[in-house]
């Protein structure tokens, strides 16, 4: 098996992009990534695209072909292009497929993209579409929403570990601070604990500012064999691990409601592959679709004991300048969560940090981890990237 490197990255700004279509978004991100790698389109061997639900959001399926077509690589070069779907983990999974393609020797230059255009439908429809990431027949039918499912995790967590409402709010405050330093972030404003506490209840105990927003956006990265990486870039970033794990589709079937066993397993597999310890990881991008999700992720990845993440956050350990900065991009909360693009944006952030291109949110990074979750934890993808 070959070593793999990221040789180029690109990302659109995230937000409610009324003027941009699905096609506009991925073409922009793809062109940015190719420019970054100094590549021409015809040098690409294959494309993977993470997308959760273009069928529901814009009525379009067959996304692989659409992307190849509008990237100008279908009619002329007929490159293979494949859509990958694992709800909110679609992006991370698309990246993993690209890595596996190159690692196996099947292809050399592979683009992994992620895209979601969510604002063409109303809130009710998007809430219902996102519910499809959970168990439609036995959770959605009963009236479960996505915030509702994570809220039940939060209720269980608070009851067992004594987390305070303020500690939960600190996650959003930190991520907004980081987002305010990220030019692609949907939210560029800092907030206070009071902002969170005064926002409306969505699903008790979660309030509006505990939830990631509805977002349009796309991101793309280019991977290549490590041995060829310097043909394209002076600062290749090595893929040290790519791990994936599954769990039950429904939250109610989990061994423990507020522990994501798939995160535990994918994290352990990734560290094993990379032969690294927790202390070797400089930054982590975790899947904070809700504030409670960031706390569970930090614990389930093994960075602290169960029940400790609220205190860890309150003490600033996960802030920029702390011992383990978490979600320097602003996370899903502040950077935005175009579901299929999120996993690729996490890779984009870690590559920027390793290359020293993260501007006002720069932290000293040699090794970074990305943690991307589908649904309430039924799919988890963990990648570790390192300077080379």
């Amino acid at each position: 098996m070959r070593d793999v490197a990221v040789i180029g990255v690109g990302c659109t700004t995230f937000g409610e992009k009324w003027g941009a279509s699905f096609r506009d978004l991925f073409v922009e991100a793809g062109a940015l990534a190719l420019d970054d790698a100094g590549l021409a389109g015809e040098q690409i061997d294959a494309l993977y695209v993470g997308n959760m639900s273009a069928g529901r959001f814009i009525g379009q399926e067959h996304i692989g072909a659409l992307i190849a077509d509008y990237a100008g690589l279908a009619a002329s070069h007929h490159i293979p292009s494949t859509r990958v779907e694992a709800a909110c983990a679609s992006g991370g999974l698309a990246f993993r497929q690209a890595v596996i393609d190159v690692m196996s020797g099947m292809e050399d230059i592979v683009v992994a993209a992620g895209v979601e255009k969510m604002t063409d439908v109303g809130t009710g429809t998007s809430v219902d579409t996102l519910t499809g990431a959970a168990d439609r027949e036995w959770e959605g039918f009963a009236g479960a929403t996505f915030p509702g499912l994570y809220a039940m995790m939060a209720t269980d967590y608070i009851n067992r570990y004594g987390l305070t409402r303020e500690q939960l709010a600190q996650v959003a405050v930190k991520n907004h601070y980081n987002g305010a330093r990220n030019p692609i972030a949907q939210f560029q404003q800092e907030i206070t604990v009071e902002t969170v506490m005064k926002s409306s209840l969505v699903a008790d105990p979660l309030r509006l500012f505990d939830c990631s927003p509805i977002t349009d956006g796309a991101a793309a990265v280019v991977v290549a064999p490590l041995e060829r990486a310097r043909e394209f870039t002076d600062c290749p970033v090595r893929v040290l691990a790519s791990a994936q794990a599954s769990d039950t589709i429904a939250l109610h079937d989990r061994r423990d409601i507020s522990t994501l066993d798939a995160t535990v397993e994918a994290g352990r597999r990734a560290l094993g592959q990379a032969r690294l310890q927790h202390r070797d990881i400089d930054i982590v991008e975790v899947h904070d679709c809700f504030t409670i999700a960031e706390l569970c992720a930090i614990e389930d990845l093994g960075f602290c004991a169960k029940g400790e993440a609220g205190r860890v956050t309150e003490e600033g350990i996960t802030a920029i300048g702390g011992r383990l900065p978490v979600n320097t991009s602003g996370g899903l909360k502040a950077c935005g969560h175009p579901v299929g693009a999120t996993g690729i944006k996490q890779i984009y952030e870690i590559v920027q940090q390793i290359r020293g291109e993260a501007g006002k949110r720069q932290v000293d990074t040699k090794i970074g981890m990305a943690h991307n979750v589908g649904g309430t934890g039924a799919t988890v993808v963990v990648h570790i990237l390192g300077a080379y």
């Binding site: 009710g124 809430v127 039918f141 009963a142 509702g148 969505v202 699903a203 109610h252 409601i257």
Partner: protein
């Protein structure tokens, strides 16, 4: 949801008809037709659940999809049935009264409607016992 999609789940949704593996004795609700433990060695049979259990966790849904918006706010919970399996269901109770560990029993209720002229979804909710 299509009429057929709703209709074929009526026994499970109206009367909590689930399954059980005769080999390992584990109960399944929502029903499974393949035992995750015994796999192909297992024998799956129908099981009628008593419909009593307790609340494991809960939330109050304040913002819902269009189908459920008329019901908000409503209490949603994970209920552990006495036989062991857990399920997601609404608890017909004022939001301030819900508690972890609360004993509940099943009731037959309207759950949602498919717009003004679509089918009415009935199914199981729980009440305090």
């Amino acid at each position: 949801m299509s009429v057929a999609g709703f209709w074929r789940k009526i026994p499970q949704r109206y009367n909590l008809v689930g399954t059980r593996c005769e080999r390992c004795g584990q109960f399944f609700f929502p029903p499974r037709t393949f035992c995750p433990h015994c796999r192909r060695e297992g024998t799956i049979v129908e099981h009628h659940f008593k419909g009593t259990g307790k609340v494991i966790s809960y939330t109050v849904i304040r913002s819902a999809s269009d189908q459920f918006e008329f019901t908000t706010p409503y209490v949603l919970a994970i209920v552990e049935l006495d036989e062991g399996p857990r399920m997601t269901a609404q608890i017909a109770i004022p939001p301030d009264d819900i508690k972890i560990g609360m004993p509940v029993k099943r009731v037959f209720r309207r759950i949602a409607t498919d717009g003004e002229s679509g089918i009415i979804h009935y199914g199981t909710k729980f009440v305090a016992r």
